[in-house]
């Protein structure tokens, strides 16, 4: 379980201190898909980086299974907003990066790589460098790379924001399929309301900076979810309801 308890974050700039996250509390049960929607620049990335342990909260606590987060760890994987595949490694070695940090056996390494190549449909691209992949493929490799380390919690920072709308909805379907199989806890950040609803069990709406949770919506749509869901009336109504909440 992931728990954020009254988390605040200030950035110190020159002579003043800017509060970016304000008293934010949040609980994500194991295996749940949580989406956070918030306006641009409100502090979404900051929030995920704190959960990942890359930066420290100014006050408040973050607990994973009742243990205080004090730094990065492979129990929490993060998919970044900008593509962060290591350009000097082939697809195969990018996926294996986390495994290579742990020194596992050659056989297990190969098994894990093969598994995620199959899951992502990238078998034919195993010897490609990132520069020769499309944006969607790069994000798939990034997801595979993180999943290969078998984190309990997956932190995703607008992973599809820079993809075209067609690739984007393909990737959303890919992710729901994957999640329905792997059942990880996911914290998914986006500013796209319909993306949040399509993917998540729970959608938290964030306020603008300093950000905190403004309202929470449970998403009732059954799984497995298919793309057609987006054309249904209930989906549309919920989307405009949450979008309205986001605007104020």
């Amino acid at each position: 379980m992931l728990e954020l308890d009254h988390v605040s974050k200030n950035y110190e700039a020159k002579d003043k201190s800017i509060r970016v996250v304000q008293n934010l509390s949040l609980v994500a049960e194991d295996g749940k898909f949580i989406a956070l929607v918030g306006p641009s620049g409100c502090g979404k990335t900051t929030l995920l980086k704190m959960i990942a342990g890359l930066i420290e909260p100014t006050s408040g606590t973050i607990l994973v299974d009742n243990k205080l987060v004090t730094g990065p760890g492979s129990d929490r994987g993060m998919i970044f907003q900008d593509f962060t595949l290591f350009p000097w490694l082939k697809v195969r070695d990018n996926i294996a990066f986390g495994l290579d940090m742990k020194k596992i056996s050659k056989k297990d390494r190969k098994k894990t790589i093969d598994h995620y190549l199959k899951v992502t449909g990238l078998v034919d691209f195993v010897d490609f460098y990132p520069k020769d992949l499309s944006g969607g493929m790069q994000q798939k490799v990034a997801i595979a790379r993180t999943l290969a380390t078998n984190p309990k919690i997956l932190l995703m920072d607008e992973p599809f924001a820079s993809l075209d709308s067609h690739t984007r909805s393909k990737m959303q379907e890919f992710l729901t399929d994957l999640w329905e199989k792997e059942k990880k806890t996911v914290v998914f950040v986006t500013h796209d309301v319909s993306e949040a609803i399509f993917l998540a069990d729970t959608v938290h709406v964030l306020s603008s900076r300093p950000t905190t949770i403004k309202k929470t919506f449970e998403i009732p749509f059954p799984r497995p979810r298919k793309h057609d869901l987006k054309h249904e009336k209930e989906f549309f109504e919920l989307t405009s309801k949450i979008a309205k909440e986001l605007e104020y």
């Binding site: 980086k49 990942a52 342990g53 890359l54 990065p72 760890g73 492979s74 929490r76 994987g77 993060m78 970044f80 900008d82 962060t84 290591f86 350009p87 000097w88 490694l89 082939k90 990066f97 986390g98 940090m101 742990k102 460098y129 990132p130 520069k131 790379r145 993180t146 380390t149 932190l155």
Partner: protein, 268 residues
């Protein structure tokens, strides 16, 4: 083509054949200008010999004199001076790039020697080391090291932090970051810095040899000038140019071989 690519020519794609053809065309244009200027008789052949005369001189120098020995002497000095520079400057540059305190400590040193002209040290080096190999190598070393340090340090300091963040979330320890993130990301930049600074090697070995030497292409140039053998001077210059071209080509090939993952390695 997308407009950004059109403006900045990001899409720098060219077939190997077209690249080769253009390279040849560039060389031919240069030769043409030289030929027109020299064969037309507009410029006295004492000042500007024809290409044929220069080739003939080069042949004579190679066959009857010691052109190959002079080439070897210069190449040897550069190899030694450059090799030594790389051994010293690359680790120092890397260290400065990752360590602010080292940067602060060494900045006076690197800046001082970057801005004081190397030629000013030649008399000093001759006094200290005589006119042998040590003096030549010191000149090359002093020309290259301060620049190479700064170029390497810049490359290393500019590594993207995001990759380190990503690595940390994948289970990397802080101690892994240097070897698995910073270094591989910096290698192409370090390689290019070497390519740029080995050019200084050529410039300064000739200078050192012109000032005082008994062998080398620079020596050949002063001797020829003393006897007004302008076509010999030109032959030496052409040889230096061709050797420089070859050096650059080797570095480019090396870049493509070692760093196939960079955008730049897509084309020659």
């Amino acid at each position: 083509m997308n407009p950004v690519n059109a403006i900045f020519r990001f899409e720098r794609k060219l077939s190997g054949r077209a690249y080769g053809l253009l390279t040849v065309a560039g060389a031919v244009s240069m030769l043409t200008v030289w030929s027109v200027a020299s064969y037309s008789g507009k410029i006295d052949s004492l000042f500007l010999p024809t290409p044929a005369a220069v080739v003939a001189s080069a042949a004579t120098l190679a066959l009857e004199f010691n052109l190959l020995g002079d080439i070897w002497a210069s190449v040897y000095r550069i190899a030694l001076g450059f090799g030594l520079s790389v051994i010293i400057a690359v680790p120092l540059g890397v260290w400065i790039g990752i360590h602010k305190q080292t940067e602060a400590f060494l900045t006076p040193l690197t800046s001082f020697f970057r801005y004081t002209p190397v030629s000013a040290y030649i008399p000093l080096f001759i006094l200290w080391f005589g006119i042998g190999e040590l003096e030549k190598i010191s000149v090359i070393f002093l020309a290259i090291v301060p620049y190479l340090i700064v170029l390497v340090a810049d490359t290393v300091a500019n590594t993207k932090k995001e990759y380190a963040y990503a690595a940390l979330t994948l289970g990397a320890q802080t101690k892994h970051i240097f070897f698995s993130i910073v270094l591989p990301q910096s290698m192409p930049g370090i390689w290019d810095s070497m390519r740029i600074t080995i050019g200084f090697g050529w410039a300064f070995v000739i200078l050192a040899e012109v000032v005082a030497a008994t062998s080398g292409l620079g020596h050949l140039i002063v001797i020829s000038q003393r006897f007004l053998k302008i076509s010999n001077v030109m032959a030496a210059i052409v040889v230096i140019g061709l050797l420089g071209l070859a050096t650059d080509m080797l570095f480019k090939l090396g870049y493509r071989y070692f760093f196939p993952w960079t955008d730049k390695s897509r084309h020659a």
